[in-house]
């Protein structure tokens, strides 16, 4: 193949907007979001599936955008942290993170918020154990996780 990796069209929806993008087949969704669409709210900490910073929702399911190829998500709906709040109003998960001090440096926060949102959308009454299980792949170095669990519990109460 003389033209390895030549660009291809990707049709996806990002935060409710349909996009038709010309992308490299070997650029991960993380790169497409951050570099092509300039949605830099999606963070990266390892780019190898080990830290959870780059979690986005694909058709409502949290996935690691650093390990997703454009060819795998044709036609999907992607939600990033920029698409979580409703206009100027924070989503209950975001509000709870703010109120409970569940963020410090804030770098793991987009991934944490999206993983939490997906959990609570399915199960707003999630117990502390279920919250731990759902967020297990999201590492945080600042908070010690304690306040994040408190925030997600509170957000669940607000959403129920």
């Amino acid at each position: 193949m003389s033209d390895i990796g030549s660009r291809e069209i990707l049709k996806i929806s990002v935060n409710g907007q349909n996009k038709e993008l010309l992308v490299k087949p070997y650029a991960t969704l993380l790169e497409i979001l951050r570099e092509d669409l300039r949605l830099t709210g999606t963070k990266h900490g390892c780019e190898a599936g080990e830290c959870g910073a780059c979690v986005v929702l694909i058709d409502g399911t949290p996935q690691l955008s650093c390990l997703v190829l454009p060819g795998q998500i044709e036609g999907s709906e992607v939600t990033t942290i920029e698409g979580v709040s409703d206009g100027g109003k924070l989503h209950p998960v975001q509000q709870a993170f703010m109120d409970h001090g569940a963020l410090q440096c804030g770098y793991c926060t987009p991934g944490m918020v999206l993983s939490s949102k997906a959990l609570l959308d399915a199960n707003p009454r999630a117990s502390a154990e279920e919250i731990k299980e759902a967020l297990a792949g999201n590492l945080c170095r600042c908070t010690g996780y304690v306040s994040i669990i408190e925030a997600v519990e509170a957000a669940g109460r607000a959403m129920a």
Binding site: G5, E50, L69, S115
Partner: protein
């Protein structure tokens, strides 16, 4: 940012077309389903295909189907999350679904597939880093080099079998369906693997693992115990799957499969003989677990010392049998 090297992505319409592409490109192509194992390895230069053949979108690979005889056929691209969420599979194959639930982290299980986990690359801490790092250490036979760094006298690579679901599937006598250019074949999961960390799969490069066939559980109940450093994310340091066929409190049959203690999962059911025809008690369990752990050969190529991992093999087997016995 750690990025992927260049490649072209092909999106075949069917398994047959995918197999055709693989056979056409030979070693220059590889399949991707979830990508959670392949993509980090490609980013680190451990695998360098020119063509990546996506199969995750094929509906034929995404189904969980009851086979009519009490068993199930699970498509290779069913995600680990989907397996864990299936109450039917949970009820029939506790060990297998437990193993699936213990793979890595939730977000990764949402992408990662059951076929991908059965085929997950062997691991070694002389190997699982970037190209630059491996260059600094000296390359090994698994990629770019010619010796085994953890066991320099070994003729074969000693990277560690790291699939959690494989031992659980083996313990239930499961088979996999492979489709290649010459047609399809069904092989026991156990014979999918061999004692070589580099060429750890017996499947041909142009064969695609299409499904996992779990036979009817009948009176078998199963469990899986995973030893690892942290409660999530990590690969197994030791894994033990146990399946028991019980008649009341009496053990009629017992299968034990261990993993992460060498390049392939090991069926150590022979050691379970003293358990047969009697109820389980602690003394006999200890004897069986000690014997069953004997073939484990952990080396200094994973986290925490190999002496500890050897000891934990016995513990994991003991726990797995106990837990299988407790499965309702």
């Amino acid at each position: 940012m750690l990025r992927l090297p260049r490649f072209s992505y092909l999106r075949p319409e069917s398994v047959a077309e995918a197999a055709q592409i693989l056979s056409e490109y030979g070693p220059r192509a590889t399949v991707v389903a979830g990508g959670t194992d392949l993509l980090p390895k490609m980013k680190r230069g451990q695998i360098e295909p020119e063509v990546v053949v996506g199969i995750g979108h094929l509906p034929e690979l995404r189904q969980i189907r009851a086979t009519g005889d009490g068993g199930f056929e699970i498509g290779a691209c069913v995600t680990l999350t989907e397996v864990v969420a299936s109450s039917e599979l949970q009820a029939a194959y506790r060990g297998y679904t437990r193993a699936a639930a213990l793979v890595s982290s939730p977000a990764l299980r949402n992408s990662g597939t059951i076929g991908g986990n059965l085929c997950v690359d062997t691991r070694c801490n002389y190997y699982d880093e970037s190209y630059e790092w491996r260059k600094a250490l000296g390359f090994c036979m698994k990629k770019d080099g010619n010796i085994c760094r953890v066991a320099p006298a070994s003729a074969t690579c000693r990277a560690i079998a790291s699939s959690d679901t494989a031992p659980a599937a083996i313990s239930m006598n499961a088979t996999v369906l492979l489709v290649g250019p010459k047609g399809e074949r069904e092989v026991p999961v156990e014979s999918l693997y061999q004692d070589d960390g580099q060429f750890y799969l017996t499947k041909a490069a142009d064969e695609i693992l299409v499904s996992l066939k779990m036979p009817s559980p009948g009176a078998w109940r199963s469990s899986y115990v995973k030893v690892r450093n942290r409660g999530t994310i990590d690969f197994p340091l030791v894994g033990a799957a146990a399946a028991l066929k019980m008649n009341g409190s009496v053990v009629e049959d017992c299968r034990i499969v261990i993993t992460a203690v060498g390049p392939q999962p090991l069926d150590v059911s022979q050691a379970a003989r003293p358990l047969l025809g009697r109820p389980i008690d602690d003394a006999i369990l200890e004897e069986v677990a000690t014997e069953a752990a004997k073939p484990a050969r952990p080396l200094d190529n994973a986290d925490i010392s190999y002496v500890w991992r050897k000891r934990m093999t016995r513990r994991a087997i003991e726990q797995a049998i106990k837990e299988a016995a407790e499965v309702a």
